[in-house]
């Protein structure tokens, strides 16, 4: 059976939706799976009718795209003239027309009707640039984004929002290989909205997130003032790297992702949806030491490989204006409990955590006597086991959901699937994704 695939309805009140030509992610004749994104185009929302004051929806999000997925499996045949090439596949020049046929699918699916068109599923993508200068035209969710998000733009059900605030181990599970959420949504046909924040420049350790959640506008003003004052009087002349680093740092510290609400648009129009109902964290984000500002008291964690991006004045600022605080396992427990409690009281969101791999085939310890007590301060795998235990203990007294990386890695084989303890293979990412979606299904059922 041959089924023409149409764009289907999409609307945003008071706006005309414009789109670019289609860029395909597969070859003509490719056999796709249901919900697999096979192509995409860029979108823009142009205000129509009378202009109102203030920023419109998506004002901050300069990257808006829509991915196309078939609802059923089959062989894709591209429609002529939908891919225009060059800037016409980048610039939004055509009005969105629900009846536009972009492809045809040859399918054996018994529920399809030959020649009767159906709408593609629309995976909506929106990205907020770290700087408006990050104007990159290539690919899905291109450029340097401080926040990216995706949701199925089909159906009127209000989606459940997952906010990802993890480090590498969460990033790959959430964003997938093309850093555009494609694998996660291919596995999830339900109403879901996923928001991703990168782990730079501020790494999302629990105490840092807690400070961010509780920070008032006047406290942020004091932080910004202190940074400006230091840079203005720094013995080390600030370089371009310094200005970029502290600019992004302030942009990040001034936001509060746990309290963000969001605009989405769907076939039935614009909606504003509340802050995330689920928050994904990485236990691997908890450091042994972090920085605490000597005067203002806020805590900051910048991972070592990201510190390399800072210029000399920023490094001097971090060395002089912050003290290094060592965190015990009990400190990490307390920070996690405080963060879970604060999130629960402010938004009611549930916290999901990726725990840590706690075994390794690369060590051959036959005698633990040479290691000082507490061994968790030295031996990475003992530290990981104790932190995993702390998570289990917290889950006994608070609503905390654990994605058991430790067990999944051990079952698949850590040597092949988690060689350094953090960066997983594709197969392991798929397992973790399924585990995460299973938890989200449970949360959805609790609504």
């Amino acid at each position: 059976m041959k089924v023409p695939l149409t764009l289907g309805p999409l609307s945003a009140e008071g706006h005309t939706i414009l789109r670019s030509g289609v860029r395909w992610l597969c070859n003509d004749g490719y056999v796709c799976r249901p919900n697999e994104v096979i192509g995409y185009c860029n979108l823009s929302l142009e205000r129509s009718g009378s202009r109102t004051a203030g920023a419109g929806p998506f004002a901050e999000e300069m990257e808006i795209q829509v991915g196309f997925a078939s609802r059923r499996p089959g062989r894709i045949r591209f429609a002529a003239g939908v891919a225009l090439g060059g800037y016409l596949d980048i610039r939004e020049a055509k009005a969105w027309d629900a009846a536009t046929v972009i492809a045809e699918i040859e399918t054996d699916d018994a529920s399809a009707h030959d020649g009767v068109s159906e709408d593609v599923r629309l995976l909506m993508l929106a990205g907020r640039r770290m700087t408006a200068l990050a104007d990159v035209h290539s690919g899905l969710l291109p450029g340097w984004l401080g926040r990216s998000r995706a949701w199925w733009g089909s159906g009127d059900e209000v989606p459940l929002t997952l906010l990802s605030l993890g480090i590498c181990d969460a990033t790959s599970v959430v964003l997938g290989d093309q850093t555009a959420f494609l694998e996660l949504f291919a596995d999830c046909p339900h109403a879901l909205h996923v928001v991703f924040h990168p782990d730079h420049p501020v790494a999302p350790a629990a105490p840092v997130l807690l400070d961010q959640l509780q920070r008032t506008p006047s406290q942020f003003k004091a932080i910004a003032q202190e940074v400006r004052g230091y840079m203005a009087s720094s013995a080390a002349s600030p370089t371009a790297e310094d200005w970029m680093f502290v600019g992004v740092l302030l942009a990040t510290l001034g936001r509060n992702p746990l309290l963000d609400s969001y605009s989405i648009f769907t076939p039935s129009g614009l909606q504003t949806i509340p802050p995330a109902q689920a928050v994904l964290l990485s236990l691997n984000a908890e450091p042994q030491t972090l920085l605490k500002h000597r005067k203002l008291g806020y805590r900051l964690h910048v991972m070592r490989h990201h510190q390399a991006a800072a210029g000399p004045a920023t490094r001097a600022w971090m060395a002089q204006e912050f003290e290094v605080v060592t965190l015990s396992l009990e400190d990490i427990r307390r920070d996690y409990e405080s963060l879970i409690d604060a999130i629960s009281s402010q938004t009611g969101a549930k916290v999901i955590v990726l725990n840590r791999m706690s075994t390794s085939g690369y060590e051959d310890i036959s005698n633990y006597a040479p290691f000082d007590s507490p061994m968790s301060n030295t031996l990475a795998n003992i530290g990981s086991k104790e932190l995993n235990l702390i998570l289990d203990e917290i889950a006994e007294t608070r609503e905390l959901y654990i994605v058991d990386v430790d067990t999944i890695a051990a079952a698949l084989g850590g040597r092949n699937h988690l060689p350094d303890g953090i960066h997983q293979s594709g197969l392991m990412q798929a397992h973790l994704r399924r585990e995460l979606l299973h938890i989200l299904d449970g949360l959805r059922g609790m609504d």
Binding site: H305, D364, N367, T378, A380, R415
Partner: protein, 122 residues
């Protein structure tokens, strides 16, 4: 009898390691369990990742020996197979000539710590 410590493969795909800390001093009489050095292995070249997959390890001795020579300093990058240190049963054994065997060691995955070269110099 001359014993040697060469950098051998700890993690598949590694091409070398960076010395992070040297705990032992040449001339020391070392017992089983003595700390020799900490090193880091960066698999960036083997795995395309958005942040460097770095692991840290401590090498400890599993037999009694005198550390006769140690040729590394923190920050030095060692290729696989390079000689790191030479050991002998006593302080009098000659250290020239080929090694009789590898010194017996254990390798443990450790946390990054403040004394490491990575972090303070990178």
């Amino acid at each position: 009898m001359l014993l040697e410590l060469r950098l051998s493969e700890i993690v598949p795909g590694m091409s070398g390691a960076t010395i992070e800390c040297v705990h032992a001093v040449a001339g020391s009489v070392l017992k089983p369990g003595a700390r020799l050095l900490d090193l880091s292995i960066d698999l960036s070249s083997a795995f395309a990742q958005e942040c460097p997959p770095i692991s840290f390890f401590r090498v400890i001795l599993r037999e009694s020996a005198v550390l006769r020579r140690i040729d590394v300093v923190p920050g030095k990058y060692m290729e696989l197979g390079e000689v790191i240190a030479l050991f002998a049963p006593t302080s009098d054994d000659p250290v020239d000539g080929p090694a009789d065997r590898s010194v017996r060691i254990a390798t443990a995955g450790i946390m990054h710590h403040a004394e490491m070269w990575t972090g303070s110099h990178q």
